[in-house]
Amino acid sequence: MKACLVFLLAIHLLAAMAGFVTAYPPAEQHRENAWEAPGARFPLGTDGLGRDQWSRLVHGARISLCSGLAAGVLSAGLGLLLGGVAGLAGGWVDRMVTRLMELFLALPWMYLLLAARAFFPLETDARVVFTALLLLLGAIGWARPARLVRGIVMSVKERESVLAARGFGAGQWYLLRRHIVPETLPALATYLSLAIPQYVAAEVTLSFLGLGFSGSTPSWGSLVGSMGSLDVLTDAWWMGLPVVVLAVVFGCYSIVSSALAETQRQGR
């Protein structure tokens, strides 16, 4: 837990000071040094255009961590709200929200992303478009956490302690704050630990569908995606190193978020 926090802090510090800890700008091409294995000059090697992978990793952390986190939190927040309302209210409200969830899980959202991309003028900064589209993905993604939250709320509100509290005349708001929301926190923390990596890597699947949107902005999604071909897997093993870093970061996130949810639960 402590080690994780320190590591995460270090990663965020590195990302914040990306310019100081890298020797080259992330987009700079050293064309004579393409596909260079890690060494003194390029600690994580270079990609096919001779760009410093270390610099791309550190600079990419900014946009990916921020927008991945934001998209995950946005979907979790919306999910908590709608799922909670559905679970508490029950009846027709619940049925409506459940229908809406199913709708959102089945629709081909890729087309909305295409329309949204067309809405931005071409001159818009690539980072703005990137963040906006990822947030849109986050907003669309409310249905998953909402379904989880609804299930938990439904079983919690029938629990003896809650029924007892209600018997003593506790208001809805009190019940929500003291009994119901805390119960959903571990599940939401788990959801976040799963969702954030998925939002960070969403770009890979989207560019597979013809909708890459990072351009020359370095992002973790594009880093992961760039190892995605047989020739790279065969010749350039170091292109896989960013994935190791990502895995450690995501693992730390998962540990920290479940620990936080735990203290929250116990501290009430």
Partner: protein, 551 residues
């Protein structure tokens, strides 16, 4: 150099071809790993490559363009003659031609075929192609085995119009045609027994999404020099995968015998495995394809600089094409400066004149640089523009990154905007709302006729200016020269005119041509006679001559 080697290689292969039939072995099956599945077996409507690949083996045209010599070659025709005024083509059919179901192929089938293509109700994509001077070809029977094609005015590439028009079996298709159900005929669900064609193979088995097996057409007309009937192979199988990596993996895993139309990265991946897997790799040099940076020169374009020849020349001169070929295509592409690649043997005008220094071009046109090295136009405004690239293809996004960096070196800020392909085309073609875009085109033939649509004002695919009008003298000059070369049959004159058009396009650079991806091919050792071509299907064009070497 690369080209010359490729040619030498081809000649060597041709030499062996002449020697082999004496000991070549018939029979066996070749498995081609394809990246995409045919959409159906309808020869009239299919315009996509995977369908055309299979249909090309099931059907045969009167004439075709030989994929290596790039000259017209008789297929179902025994001979053909163009009248001295260039308006009538007379075609004599071979004797005893039969479709794969055994029914005779006669001049009636030829008439039926062209009637179908010219029928407005059928909506054939060839309907307008089979018109000269706005009037349809008039096709008549001039004997039991002789057909005549009359054109309203002399047309330089007349006989090439007939190449690629598969002759349809009237006895199989007429009923559906009469009932107005032609489009739904021979869809993907068609039974093999419903189909008939005059190509080297016939359909045997379809497993949707998985594979397709063709078997030899016992009635195929062609024989080798020793009189042995073609095709040598008993069966051709197509194995369908999606994506290059899956294609390469299946070839390397021994599931297939041949793969083509992959990129430099896959070439590289196969290269590192080929020893162990008995795979033969071939890089036959540049294809007909050209990738280019397209400027929006439509009237009302937002960027005033693009209208200046010097600016476009400077952009062209700033491009590091060698790096694009080496890094993006992993050495499997050829730098080009104009839209006609060296693969168009007799039509290629040779390398372009060396480009001037980009900075000199710009300062001569009144551009300056500020303290930070940013380029300022004569009015003092900084120069920057956006570049659309197809997000689905990593080669384009990487090329975009190289272009961005190259132009940064001369002070131009380019913002690369990756975009889904159809959204991109919508902007370029329908809305004309963009600055510049990375595109690629593949001419359908080496003859200049294939470029008319893409380069002249009246052409619907002259992407840089779709207004239908010549806005600049050089556009008018291209129009004029292309018109002249399509109206004469004097081949030397056509060549000269075409070379002039190429020079204009290189000079004016409405499309800054970058590279031509090389023709790449991987086949299992022992499968002989597999040679990449340039026109039509790049690999399957001579599948009737493939054979397995005796072990």
């Amino acid at each position: 150099m690369e080209m010359r080697l490729a040619k030498l290689w081809r000649e060597l292969l041709l030499a062996t071809l002449i020697l082999v039939p004496a000991w070549s072995q018939s029979g066996g099956r070749a498995i081609v790993v394809q990246r995409s599945e045919p959409r159906g077996f309808q020869p009239v409507y299919s315009v996509d490559e995977p369908s055309r690949a299979v249909i090309g083996l099931l059907h045969a045209p009167l004439l075709r363009i030989h994929s290596e010599t790039q000259e017209t070659e008789a297929v179902l025709a025994a001979s053909w003659k163009v009248s001295p005024d260039g308006r009538t083509i007379t075609v004599n059919l071979r004797e005893n031609l039969r479709f794969s179901d055994g029914a005779p192929l006669t001049v009636a089938d030829v008439l039926f075929t062209f009637a179908v293509h010219q029928d407005a109700a059928v909506a054939s994509p060839l309907r307008e192609v089979l018109q000269v001077g706005g009037k349809p070809l008039v096709v008549t029977a001039a004997g039991p085995r002789r057909a005549q094609f009359q054109m309203a005015e002399p047309y330089a590439a007349g006989e090439r119009l007939l190449a690629g028009v598969a002759i349809l079996p009237r006895h199989r298709m007429e009923a559906a045609y009469q009932q107005g159900q032609f489009r739904s005929l021979w869809g993907l669900g068609a039974k093999p027994s419903e189909l008939a064609g005059a190509g080297p193979f016939r359909l045997k088995l379809v497993e949707p999404g998985r594979r397709m097996v063709l078997e030899r057409n016992l009635h195929y007309w062609k024989r080798d020099k020793a009189g042995k009937p073609l095709p040598y192979l008993d069966e051709m199988e197509f194995l369908f995968t999606a994506g290059e990596d899956a294609q390469v993996a299946r070839l390397l895993a021994g599931e297939g015998d041949l793969a083509a139309s992959f990129g430099g990265g896959s070439y590289r991946a196969i290269e590192s495995h080929r020893e162990r897997r008995g795979i033969r790799l071939l890089d036959a040099g540049p294809s007909l394809d050209y990738t280019f940076l397209l400027f929006n020169l439509n009237p009302g374009g937002k960027r005033p600089w693009f209208a200046q020849t010097a600016f476009r020349q400077a952009v062209s001169a700033a491009m590091d094409r060698e790096s694009i070929a080496r890094l993006v295509y992993r050495g499997r592409a050829s730098p080009i400066r104009g839209p006609v690649t060296p693969a168009r043997l007799k039509w290629y005008a040779g390398p372009a004149a060396p480009a001037a220094e980009p900075r000199r071009l710009l300062s001569a046109a009144g551009y300056r640089w500020n303290g930070e090295g940013r380029l300022l136009d004569p009015t003092g405004a900084p120069v920057s523009f956006t570049l659309l690239v197809n997000a689905a293809n990593p080669a384009y996004t990487q090329t975009g990154a190289i272009v961005e960096e190259d132009l940064k070196k001369i002070g131009i800020a380019v913002q690369v905007v990756p975009m889904e392909f159809r959204s991109l085309v919508d902007r370029v073609v329908n809305r004309k709302d963009y600055d510049a875009a990375l595109m690629a085109l593949r001419p359908g033939d080496v003859d200049p006729a294939a470029d008319v649509n893409a380069w002249v004002s009246a052409g619907r695919t002259r992407l840089w200016n779709l207004s239908g009008q010549a806005l600049h003298p050089w556009e008018a000059s291209v129009d004029e020269k292309m018109r002249a070369l399509m109206a004469t049959r004097d081949q030397a004159r056509r060549r000269r005119l075409f070379h002039e058009v190429q020079r204009i396009l290189e000079q004016e650079a409405p499309m800054v041509c970058l590279v031509s991806p090389n023709l790449l091919l991987a086949s299992r050792a022992g499968l002989e006679n597999v040679r990449p071509g340039t026109i039509g299907d790049l690999v399957l064009w001579n599948a009737d001559e493939w054979y397995w070497r005796r072990q």
